[in-house]
Symmetry: C2
């Protein structure tokens, strides 16, 4: 998996959080995921399929960050992870994946997206099982950290 | 979503656990998922796409049950959820979805599967975000409970 393939996801998340939530995330360096799992409190997971490959993507948020995003996008902060926050994470997962899908299509990679599922549980971890390299991208903010992880079949 | 669409997943899980792990799960009645979320300790999540629809599926295990399945399939029980258990849940998710895909194809529903991601975290919940009905199927055993959840766009 090359950087041409990863950047669209990074760009899409930064776009979505800055335009929708007026929040500037600071992207860290994408890394191959080895032992150090991303941990977080709520995650969107979505499958992607193209004629050439298939894989999965997750976006994981720490509670403080997703509540700040909710506050900025919807003007309400429930103070905990509830069904509205879960729905928001599902929508963010769709928006980021949809944004990346569009950028990837311009480069000649056509993907179909499945629908997202959202996992809620303090300090959970996610492990992607496609047989390709696992890439993890951290995004920091004063409110907490987000991680995108992607993995595609080679 | 009709029962013709659900039964293949039920049958596939019962087949896999009985043939691979020599373990008889008792299926409960499929239900529309409302408030009562399935909770569990480790889950496989996978996306599915067909020409007509797209959706997501999860299989959630309580720790005691997945460790018993691991003991029966691989002759080892690590006593906790580690990377080997996570890989096993990924493989079970592939096997169950692949089995259901085959049965669905015989009925004229052709699906492509994405690749699974596995979530690990005590007492997490999963919420599927496709806009169709959410179906949850419980499976009980002396070692703990498993849940299959599926949701497809209408």
């Amino acid at each position: 998996m090359n950087v041409e393939f990863i950047n669209p996801f990074l760009i899409a998340l930064l776009n979505v959080t800055s335009t929708m939530a007026n929040l500037k995330l600071t992207p860290g360096k994408p890394k191959l995921k080895a032992d150090n799992l991303a941990k977080g409190d709520i995650s969107g997971v979505i499958g992607m399929i193209s004629p050439q490959t298939r894989g999965s993507l997750s976006i994981t948020f720490e509670q403080g960050l997703i509540l700040e995003i909710m506050q900025n996008m919807l003007g309400e902060n429930p103070g905990k992870l509830n069904e509205e926050v879960s729905d928001l994470v599902g929508e963010l997962t769709n928006m980021v994946t949809g944004g990346a899908k569009k950028l990837l299509a311009e480069k000649g990679y056509d993907f179909d997206m499945a629908t997202p599922a959202v996992v809620c549980g303090l300090n959970h971890t996610i492990s992607h099982k496609a047989n390709g390299k696992k890439i993890i991208m951290p995004f920091t903010s004063p409110y907490g950290t987000a991680f995108i992880e992607i993995c595609f079949e080679e």
